[in-house]
Amino acid sequence: MGDFILHVLEEGFLFAILSLGVYISFRALNFPDLSVDGTYPLGAAVVAIMILKGINPFIAMIIATLAGGLAGLFTGFLHTRLKIAPLLSGILTMICLYSINLRIMGRPNISLSPYLGYRTFITIIKEEANSLVTSKYLIPLIFLGIVIALKFLLDIFLHTEIGLAIRATGDNEEMIRAEGVNTDTTKLIGLALSNSLVALSGALFAQYQGFSDIGMGIGMIIAGLASVITGEALFRGRTISIITLEVIIGAIVYRLAIAVALKWGYNFGFKPTDLKLLTGLLVIIILAFPVIRKRMKLKFLKDIKI
């Protein structure tokens, strides 16, 4: 049971990085960016092929993050310069990335198993730490550290002049243009940042699970969105630092729900292949919550606001 929780936390922390990215595009920038389904495996693909070639995994992760940012810029370019609608811009990037990811990896999946002798950042950390401590808490603690660090950096960024302009773009585009901000630029910065985080999440996850797969991005946007809205439903924070914390907790709760479904769901005829269906249904229920509440006039649910 303890291992189960640890496992959920490990996945939840990595997943939270993606969710923070989704928060930037969907909420802060109010841009429904579907590129995520392509940039998540992009991060994994870049890191996998570089580790395969023997490049230092930390350098590989930086390159993977930058690649995600570049893909985000492409989505932004489609929208701001070519005037393609936000949803379509994201879908176009996603579909282009499918082929690009296959090109990068050269095949549909790459194994990074330490038994094959590949050095991921996880094997490096374990090697380094071996002489000091050997604890199963080491990896989740390091993941937690990464998430907390990213959260604080993001909090600070969203309070800078540029961060404010990005948030105002998502809130009231007319106003911020009248205040002399080029909203094309703020959208480009926001999308680049969002997809960098998503790609970093993919890069970390590939190393954590020991492989990169072309299909690992399918439905990630919905999963990320599920985390964001789960967090928002559980709390009702209004300041940035509370909201980003919500998103992280939302990601962990979401992973927990998925893990529970996978572990005990077979009693109810649930199969691992039903996972995406489950995620989809979860998001539908949460999104439909206000309507359901209104229809059923469930008084005790009135206080819960989404």
Partner: protein, 265 residues
């Protein structure tokens, strides 16, 4: 200060819905002028302000601010010269941002945004002082989200924001129309005070004829995309709302008879 020559704007050009909103407008406004603009719905008042601020580009004509040709400058590049307050109190502020964050954005209008904290202690103090001058108690609510403020408070904040970065030109588009009479009164006096404090060149669109004569030093009546008349100085001082309406119907009738003559000729 503001020079508009041969300005024409056509919406849906070339389609069945083609609509000539502004017809060959010529307007020169001196520094420090406070001009009120009146006219019925569809006269082109809001379009005129939108073209001055760069929301739309004109089909013909030229706009100069302080001798600088801004006709083809995008909206965000004109922002340093222009402060705006809109009819809808929700339009001028970002509701999910706090009062101080909105002010920080306004203070940076037209300046390069950098990667440094937007609200510093020094700025917070400055905002506090500015807000206390409004007399609405907003200085105690710096860190509240603007969405929690009332329409009047938001409009007062927007006026402060519009003037914070010292623009050359202030554009007010019926900025009291959506407020209750009492709040509207407060806001209009606040506007007057702010404008006279900094001798700001101002264009104010209003539906209220009394207001149009009471405030400012010049009044323009627009109709069907044209400037019907333009009064200032002694003539305006003596004018009552009735005179204004008389003048309007007289000019309108003449115009109508002219049109009739054209048709019958």
């Amino acid at each position: 200060m503001l020079k508009i020559t041969h300005l024409t704007k056509i919406f849906f050009k070339g389609s069945v819905n083609e609509n000539i909103v502004l017809r060959n407008i010529n307007l020169f406004i001196s520094p420090g002028d406070f001009v009120t603009i009146i006219g019925s719905n569809g006269a082109g008042k809001t379009t005129l302000l939108n073209i001055i601020s760069g929301v739309f580009f004109p089909d013909q004509g030229k706009i100069e601010i302080d001798g600088k040709d801004v006709t083809n400058l995008p909206e965000y590049k004109r922002a340093p010269f222009i402060g705006r307050v809109f009819q809808n109190p929700l339009q001028g502020t970002a509701s999910s941002l706090t009062v101080e964050e909105n002010l920080a954005i306004a203070e940076l209008r037209g300046k390069r945004k950098r990667l440094r904290l937007a609200v510093t202690r020094r700025k917070r103090k400055e905002f506090e002082e500015r807000l206390s001058l409004l007399g609405l108690g907003l200085e105690k609510r710096l860190q509240e989200r603007v969405g929690l403020l009332s329409g009047g408070q938001r409009q007062a904040l927007t006026i402060l924001m519009a003037t914070l970065a010292k623009p050359k030109l202030l554009l007010l588009d019926e900025h009291t129309a959506n407020l209750d009479p009492k709040t509207a009164q407060k806001i209009i006096f606040l506007t007057k005070r702010v404008i006279s404090e900094v001798h700001l060149t101002t264009l104010m669109v209003t539906h209220n004829m009394e207001e149009a004569l009471k405030f400012g030093n010049r009044t323009i009546m627009m109709n069907e995309g044209k400037i019907l008349f333009d009064v200032s100085g002694e003539e305006r001082k003596k004018m009552s709302v009735k005179d204004l309406l008389d003048k309007f119907s007289k000019l309108k009738k003449e115009k109508l008879s002219e049109d009739k003559m054209l048709l019958t000729r």
